[in-house]
Amino acid sequence: MFGLTLEFLNKVIDMNKSTTMAADTPVRSRKKEFQLKCHSVWMKTKAFFHGNPPAIIGVSLITIIILGALFAPVLSSHNPEKRVARPHEAPSTEHVLGSTRNGRDVYSQVLHGARKSLTVALFAGIIAMTIAIAVGVTSGYLGGKVDEWMNFITNVFLVFPQLPLLIVLAAFLGQVGSMVITVLLGVTSWPWGARVIRSQTMAIRNKEFIISAEAMGESKIRIILVEILPNLISIVFGGFLGTVIYAMGAEAGLGILGLGDATEVSWGSMLYWAQVSSSLYTGAWWEMLVPAAALALTGGALALINMSIDQVSNPKLKTGPHMKLWHKLNRETMKRRGLL
């Protein structure tokens, strides 16, 4: 027993030595290290997209949408909040995607609406995942009474229907701005993420590297932030994308129910005005279907990215040409050996 402890201590000292040595290494090799790191990141990115059409489609779609949102003031042809056309003008060269009942230019509105909708979804996702990480990791790592209580709260939130809860809250608050919607979405959509993160934390909680970190006397906060969190990145990111998709849909849903701020330009409020003017019945499909298509494409693209990330964190789930190749080679080998 004593021998083991001594050996362990020696190892710790060795580790410390090596870290101090790393600090003394000349600047040049650090630069090289940085280059190597960049190279490996580049290779990883390439590997992520290689033979993975869903990832390519998803990322390019989302890039286009984000660029559209970022450069909305440059790309849009009209002021989205001004009356610039006659009501329900069909798509033409002047108004690429037609005009709304109130004479707004749909193309400019959908670009500007992307900003609001994406911001709401993004920040709701960030809020939700922050709570999910805090609750999930604490509960999974600390265990015991803390875990019991946090798990109970998570489960209660999990079984409550979130969207109706959100609708009722928004209804009581009256027509709420996008800020309030973001916060409401964030604080109601964390439980699923917390649950997944908790179970993953529990799975790695008893691995050797955590135990050795504990033996070295690292503080709990440091263990959580430095040892556990990096191992959860793919789950956290997956959960984040899922929440963003959900939040975007919920914002649109609240919008069409008339619970959002209809004076702001967002995809939700566009749907609301299209619904109010019953544009589908009057044949002005563009007013309704353009924001709907924008929502659909964004949701679909994010889902494709999410699926590809799942495959990176669990390579077993991969499909695609390389799997086909593997099966082909496998069959050929079997044939050569006379097994098939």
Binding site: P53, V159, P161, P164, L165, I167, A292, G300, M307
Partner: protein, 324 residues
Amino acid sequence: MSFLLRRLGFYFTAFLIAISFNFLLPRMMPGDPIDALFAAAQGKMDPAQMDAVREMYGFMDGSIFEQYIAYIQSVFTLDLGPSVLMFPIDVTTVVGMSLPWTMFLALGSLIVSLILGVTIGTYASYRREGFFGQFVPPLLAFISNFPYIVTALLLFYFFGLQLEILPLAYTYDPSIDPGFTMEFIGSVAKHAVLPMGSMILVGIATWVFNMRNAMINVLGEDYVTMAEAKGLSSFRVMYRYAGRNAILPVATAIAMAIGFSFAGSIMTEVVFNYQGLGNILLKGIMARDYPLIQAILLILVSAVLTANFVADLLYVWLDPRISK
């Protein structure tokens, strides 16, 4: 048995929390909800009348604790006061009329998408390197992640308005008398196709991916190789051998999906003007009918909790180890 009792206790506690939330909600908001309700009639109603209305909705004098006890009593005796929107009718009656339709939509679409999704997911994992396994899951992931409202709108437009093959509103043809006749059932089915179809489209990917991922883990097991080596048909290996074990982790996701399904039903009903809770909820919101809104939230919570308990029963049946 102790497992089910524990779950029952949990659901009861969750229900109590929901009631407390419902109780606190109007009391946390600025101003008096009853004042807001009758803002237009302010000054025309004398204070005695206002007090009577307040008491009808449980906002009586007394400490907050006494009010709370009274509120819980009113919930369990199903006495939530009259609806503002449809005045003399009780809130519980209004909700009771539309709840079956929402249950039908939410649970029906959940069951159909579960069965379809599990079947597709199993096949997709088994034919992972083929066209089906490579093409179908990404496509479903793409389509299924359209927001509920968008899928509903798209189906509404293309199948209802453009092709005019399916009805666009109501739960059944109003000219038909409700009853157990073929005509009535046919009409209900026809009216449910679009709303339910849009919910199935949204719900299906969850099951396809859960099942596929679970299956891929199981397919590596020795007993599956053994079954293949015995020369069993691939259908038998897929569904009777691998599928049986892969379905366990999938069943745990049902709890989450029930809530989502009800939420989706609310959204879909609004688009298709389906006479369920979602439709009433929208009307209630527009009329600022707070008692009705609260009753709907409460009934939705209890429906979801009950459905969750049924899912627990199902899980015990699937995996008897858990009840020990």
